[in-house]
């Protein structure tokens, strides 16, 4: 959790050199230097590699946004769908061929605004898809508008006097929707991401990964690396991830605890 800026820069380098690009090396990430997405990318790569999942048996479905670009950079089959529809598309992919490991990837705008109708339903259906929400609390690709998870007071070109809406908490939503596996993670901690992903991929139902990250280009105000690094911390020692109501109670009190928040036992 002590990832400094330098370490991140090293991670960027690492991801670029990693063997996972052997096949489609034309698709090196085009994210801004310092973007948190590099860390998430590395976390996912590591999980796939450590679990020895053949890359051609993985499908990455992504939405539109900087996060959505991830499916071009992943060394897997990819489906870069339209804005907000990763979850229904993933549902189709997974049911069509249950042998595939399916990742759904998208930003907070993609998942909580335009695509907000889909998360409740993939959770209710408990489809075995791994949904990784890249939450930078901003619309990155469209150059910096507030997203549903932005704190009020966010000053952007479309909210010059500061935004006024209350933020949505994606972790709380996933829990309220009945998701059977919910983790909260930090882009500055790729190892943490890998560890949670390995558990989530093994989980036989829907797994939700809420990853906090920073848009270094457009957010100088709230979700900066400095702030995030100050705020995030591990779950309490004695945390019980099997109790749904307690998980919700915890999330209502603590916005920045990282780890596996809930895992349904019998599912």
């Amino acid at each position: 959790m002590k990832t400094s800026g330098k370490v991140l820069a090293a991670q960027v380098a690492k991801i670029k050199d990693s063997d996972v690009f052997s096949i489609r090396s034309e698709n090196l990430p085009t994210w801004c230097p310092g973007c948190g997405y590099f860390g998430i990318h590395q976390g996912i790569n590591n999980a796939i590699q450590r679990m020895n999942i053949p890359h051609h048996k993985v499908v990455t479905v992504s939405g539109i946004g900087c996060a959505g670009r991830y499916s071009f950079f992943a060394n897997t089959y990819g489906l870069h769908t339209v804005h907000g529809r990763t979850l229904p598309v993933s549902t189709g992919v997974k049911l069509a061929n249950p042998e595939l490991t399916v990742f759904a990837v998208g930003g907070d705008g993609d998942g909580l605004a335009i695509g907000g109708a889909h998360l409740p339903h993939i959770a209710r259906r408990d489809i075995n898809v791994n949904y990784i929400l890249f939450d930078n609390s901003i619309y990155g690709l469209t150059k910096g508008q507030p997203s549903p998870s932005s704190p009020p007071g966010f000053t952007t070109k479309v909210s010059p006097a500061g935004s006024t809406e209350q933020p949505l908490n994606a972790t709380l939503l996933a829990l309220s929707y009945g998701a059977t596996f919910v983790a909260r993670l930090f882009a500055g901690d790729p190892e943490g991401i890998t560890a949670a992903l390995i558990e989530g991929i093994k989980h036989p139902g829907f797994a939700f990964f809420h990853v906090y990250t920073s848009c270094v280009t457009f957010d100088k105000q709230f979700k900066t690396w400095d702030h995030l690094k100050k705020w995030v911390h591990p779950l309490p020692e004695n945390y019980d991830s099997s109790n749904h109501a307690q998980s919700i109670a915890h999330v209502l009190e603590d916005d920045y605890s990282m780890g596996i928040l809930y895992r349904k036992q019998d599912s």
Partner: protein
């Protein structure tokens, strides 16, 4: 034309068993070897109360359309049936309950309202039912018995369908119903012995008792199953829901699955995901849901992912007339969604085509790697008609996916530019071909590429592919074509049957008129259509929309203005309406 052409209408309130009686009637006459086309109308959306009408046209030749005139009206509720009297043919037969329940208002009996010359057949439906089965519930069956005797239809066909329906409910219910039928039958036979006509006696049938009675909805469902569909994703909407209901039962039996999705956007999304991963899937919707799908449909176009969407049209715009028929989504099916996004659009004109096109469209979608839309409509989906059972060959349902070769494995180019526009498409799980399918403009390898040359080349590739699909699509069907026709009638979808019947009738009156059925809406066979048009002194395009949507699409192929007949009544067009238009044009 045909010798037997009898339209029977049953009318009642919901609760009277109107639709059920229609079902027995259709099934029985089909078994007797007649052709049938039947269509019900329900009390729209107002729950609980309302008029139900079932119309059944019976003939010895293939039925192309419903007919405007009713020869026999069976009234299960005289108040409701009054509004139907205007549709009676001359000297029609009206079968009614001549001992109605005491609370019926005075003057409500149909007998008081029919025209002189009507063949009024009173049968005490309720009384006979109560005697035969201890309750008035079977009055609709009594009425059928009365009807059968009058037209000399052998009772065994009715016995058979009644037995089929009720045998699971136990002997007493079954027998009660059979007794109801016989009571009506015998009553008619005795009381109206002098009025019996042999219209529906066995020898008048077409001798095809093994034809099946099928609705468009079930034909689509069976087509999907026979095509090997394993996933259905949909959201309920009239008139597409019955397809979903059918598949909800049928898919699990085949190891498949149906998911009721949260909306139409997610339905088409899941269909695309499924085809991407190599499994045939489909969805069905109607206009409002289709509009929501258009963004993702164009994603299928751009990313070259197959999809199959049935658009069961209903009255529009917007929520419109959910329980009424219309053909007003043609332009939206062709053009909906951003960009130059040509996709394949087919229209089925009758129940057999609902079946065959549903099967065909999976192959088209796979080979041309594009969404395929099949247009049907409320009338076509909900009507039943007799048809010869179709058996589909292995070839017709074969996988038309084009997978990459071993040699493509290194340096795989998913969107390689080819002459046909088609590039091999792997399934995830195949090693060595991983790529990203994207709705962004992309290079041959699939990465984003917005250079002018690339976008031009890719647009051209995608359009070449769609144009090439014409080779595998149904060609326009010509009827009565000769050089120098005075008039050519071009139509599509469920309206075509009525158009063809009108043309037949006009020809029998010596008018030089031909007909063309268009099933391939997009792309369309411009050359064939033009060459038909060139033979015609005038072109008439009847369709059930206000704007003349097919005319708008193909009208420019004709060197004069085409004549349009547009009707948006919410009900199917009758042949006579087109026939009259033909006469009007010819007498100009």
């Amino acid at each position: 034309m045909s010798n037997v052409d009898l339209t029977v209408e049953i009318c009642g309130m919901s609760g009277d068993g109107t639709i059920a009686a229609g079902g027995f009637l259709n099934a029985a006459v089909a078994k007797a070897g007649f052709s049938v086309m039947a269509f019900d109308s329900y009390p729209a959306e107002i729950r609980g109360f309302g008029r139900c009408v079932t119309r059944c046209r019976i003939g010895d030749e293939e039925m192309l359309a419903l007919s405007d005139k009713t020869h026999v009206l069976i009234s299960l509720d005289d108040e409701q049936s009054q509004s139907r009297l205007s549709g009676l043919a001359e000297s029609a037969t009206v079968i009614f309950d001549n001992k109605p329940p005491s609370m019926v208002p005075e003057g409500a009996s149909l007998a008081a309202h029919v025209e002189a010359g009507t063949n009024l057949v009173g049968i005490p439906f309720r009384d006979l039912a109560a005697q035969a089965a201890g309750s008035t519930r079977g009055r609709n069956i009594v009425a059928l018995g009365g009807f059968a005797a009058l037209f000399e239809m052998p009772p065994e066909y009715f016995h058979e369908v009644i037995t089929k329906k009720f045998q699971a409910k136990g002997a007493s219910i079954l027998e009660g119903n059979l007794r109801c039928f016989d009571a009506g039958y015998n009553y008619s036979k005795e009381k109206y012995a002098d009025r019996i006509a042999d219209t529906l006696s066995s020898e008048n049938g077409n001798g095809n008792p093994d034809r099946i009675l099928q609705s468009g909805n079930i034909a689509i469902g069976e087509g999907a199953i026979d095509a090997g569909v394993r996933l259905y994703f949909g959201y309920p909407i009239t008139p597409a829901t019955p397809i979903m209901e059918y598949l909800a039962k049928a898919l699990p039996e085949k190891g498949g699955k149906l998911l009721q999705m949260e909306d139409e956007i997610s339905s088409i999304g899941a269909v695309l995901g499924s085809f991407y991963a190599g499994t045939r899937a489909m969805t069905a919707t109607s206009g409002p849901g289709f509009a929501l799908m258009t963004e993702l449909i164009t994603h299928g176009v751009m990313a070259e992912i197959p999809a199959v969407i049935i658009n069961t049209q209903r009255g529009g715009p917007a929520t419109g007339l959910p329980t009424k028929t219309e053909q007003s989504d043609l332009q939206a099916a062709v053009w909906g969604g951003p960009g130059d996004s040509a996709r394949i659009v087919l229209a089925a004109a009758n129940v057999p085509e609902c079946y065959t096109y549903t099967i065909k469209c999976f192959q088209l979608a796979e080979k041309y790697q594009t969404p395929v839309i099949v247009l049907t409509d409320f009338f076509l989906n909900n009507r039943v008609e007799t048809m010869a059972p179709i058996s589909i060959s292995e070839e017709e349902k074969a996988d038309w996916n084009i997978y990459p070769d071993k040699e493509d494995q290194n340096n795989f180019h998913r969107y390689r530019i080819t002459e046909s526009g088609i590039s091999p498409r792997p399934k995830p799980g195949m090693e060595g071909y991983s790529y990203t399918a994207t709705g962004l403009e992309h290079s041959e390898k699939g990465g984003p590429d917005y250079t002018p040359e690339n976008h031009m080349a890719m647009n051209s590739k995608r359009h070449r592919k769609i144009e090439g699909a014409l080779n595998d699509m149904p060609v326009p069907e010509e009827y009565f074509v000769e050089d120098n026709l005075d008039l050519g009638v071009i139509s599509w979808g469920s309206t075509f049957g009525a158009a063809l019947e009108a043309v037949q009738k006009a020809r029998s009156n010596g008018i030089k008129v031909g007909a063309l059925k268009i099933a391939s809406i997009y792309p369309f066979h411009a050359d064939l259509i033009r060459s038909f048009m060139e033979k015609c002194g005038n072109i008439l395009i009847p369709e059930l929309n206000y704007e003349g949507q097919l005319a708008g699409l193909i009208g420019h192929l004709y060197d004069k203005d085409v004549i349009k007949l547009n009707q948006t009544t919410g009900v199917p067009i009758y042949p006579v309406e087109i026939y009259q238009k033909i006469n009007e044009i010819m007498s100009r």
